[in-house]
Symmetry: C2
């Protein structure tokens, strides 16, 4: 442990010299390969210890022609849904012996492209896409590099996908409001949610509305005055938001406009981010099981990386469920 502090890290050759063996022998004991005489094994161990030697992963991966790096592409780290997912992904990746490289893209095509390029330049073994802006160039880049990719909570036809059943989630949220007696219910989409997921949730909403003989009204933040939505006539009594952050903004707007939640307005979110459970927010929402999404994503990716899975993109669906809290209540005219 008492290497000179002025030296550069010890190499396998330093260890070999000190232990009076060849570097292959050192390599063998490190990797537990072949059969080595207990005495030499011990000598090597000693040498490794006194030098504080640690194998250079860059060098190892260079010769092995594969890295244990996983690129994680994220929409917005400051968005709790993404950061909570990132945490779960990091955990499951580390558990399987991978190291993650996280890139934050703000769902901007240029940044996504730059991130992907950088990740591929490092020869990542695989990609976890927590957000995908859907750029054609991105697609070409990744498919040409033949790097296994799994899309979590977002979609692409050229990689594995793991998500919850978004249509079911949208339906669940809507049916909850319908069951509570609401009739005028709007759906509000958000750009921070990937398009396909947003559409699926909206489709679930529409189905539930139609099945109940109600008129669907699908809105989008992009072209929406929250005030007009909430104060228009006839009065809305329920809102389904495509994500929790949007729902919380609706809560804010309602507070500002003197609309009481849940007395005058019921709101359902989507994601179940941690803060949705705060007493001050207490948001009814559709829970996405983040740990399971991440676990599943890493299982799929790992299977691709090892070659265990090959061929056509696969798809995994994990269950979502309604969590009833304080922002929804029975309709009162």
């Amino acid at each position: 442990m008492s290497r000179q502090l002025t030296e550069k890290p010890a190499t396998i050759l330093d260890v070999a010299r000190l232990a009076r063996v060849s570097k292959s022998t050192v390599s063998n004991v490190i990797r537990g390969a072949g059969v080595i005489a207990p005495s030499t094994k011990e000598r090597v161990r000693q040498a490794i210890d006194t030098l504080g030697y640690r194998p250079n992963l860059i060098a190892r991966q260079m010769v092995q022609q594969r890295t244990s790096l996983i690129g994680v592409v994220i929409g917005d780290l400051a968005n709790p849904f993404y950061s909570e997912m990132a945490k779960a992904v990091e955990w499951h990746a580390t558990t399987r012996g991978y190291q993650v490289m996280i890139c934050n893209t703000q769902i901007d095509e240029r940044r996504e492209l730059a991130s992907l390029r950088s990740l591929l330049d490092y020869r990542v073994a695989g990609l976890i896409m927590l957000a995908y802006a859907g750029d054609a160039e991105s697609r070409q880049l990744v498919t040409e590099a033949r790097v296994p990719s799994v899309f979590v909570t977002c979609m692409a036809d050229w990689g594995d996908v793991v998500s919850t059943d978004d249509e079911k989630g949208g339906r669940l949220a809507t049916e909850h409001l319908i069951d509570l007696g609401h009739r005028r219910i709007a759906y509000v989409g958000d750009s921070s949610v990937e398009d396909a997921a947003d559409h699926a949730r909206a489709a679930g909403y529409r189905k539930a509305m139609t099945a109940a003989g109600l008129k669907a009204a699908i809105q989008h933040w992009r072209d929406l005055s929250l005030e007009a939505l909430l104060t228009g006539r006839p009065r809305l009594s329920g809102v389904v938001s495509s994500n929790d952050l949007g729902a919380i903004e609706i809560l804010d707007a309602a507070d500002r406009l003197g609309i009481r939640v849940p007395d005058d307005l019921s709101v359902v979110g989507y994601d179940d981010i941690i803060i949705a459970g705060l007493r001050r927010i207490s948001l009814t929402t559709i829970a996405q099981p983040k740990d399971e999404l991440a676990r599943s994503a890493l299982d799929m990716l790992h299977a691709r990386v090892t070659g265990e899975t090959r061929g056509k993109p696969k798809r995994a669906i994990v269950e979502c469920g309604l969590v009833v809290r304080g922002t929804t209540a029975r309709f009162r005219s």
Copy 2:
């Protein structure tokens, strides 16, 4: 761009062959080194394009004996303060040409040690510590590896430090309450805040209290019944929390106990995480300028990595400030 999809990524040799030059020449045009005849330069460019060639960074960094990797050690990615900081750090790192490797430690010494080991095995050029459990073995590991480290919002005497003036922050928060007429004010520390920072904030609180002739009461979550704290006699009328998340928990507890904020109780947080600004939370707090902390940290680290700075650990302080929102009000008996 039309490489066979079954091939492995093109190497510099493939480009050299196609352009009918040596690989050194290709290397030179890639790196813009030396003087190359425009015609050959063009041929090489063409070859690079048709092959979709991208230099293998692993190989490059192997020969250059240094990486452009930065290890980022985080306490808890699901904690908004950390994830907001992580976002800022990622941004500033990317901007300077680094790629980040994020490790989430839950401020657990064993996980921190494992993360650090992994990061060092990848030969990261530098380390940004957003949290530091303070393990002695961690310290030895990193100092022996001679990897520049900067501690952000946490402390160690063996690396550069960038933080806000925590004592001032604690003082500001406390003085705000005193100015509002509060007399019985408690300070509540939290384990998710690094010890040194927590202590400095508590010290600021104590100074302000003492200066006003008031009695300081420093508590810690670890050994605290929130109910006892809030309902004990004589009644507390102000609380300074060492972080926003803790402050929000106090808000929750107050709501639960029927204590009105800010009418019966004023609460000040620390960090100014995004959700503190939500109308439903509207937390008065001490703002840590996250972008500036991150920028400063990366400047310091970059200067170390390039050798521009050397020698004793440096220290940078960025300003913090009070943000008054809705959880504090004038004292009424």
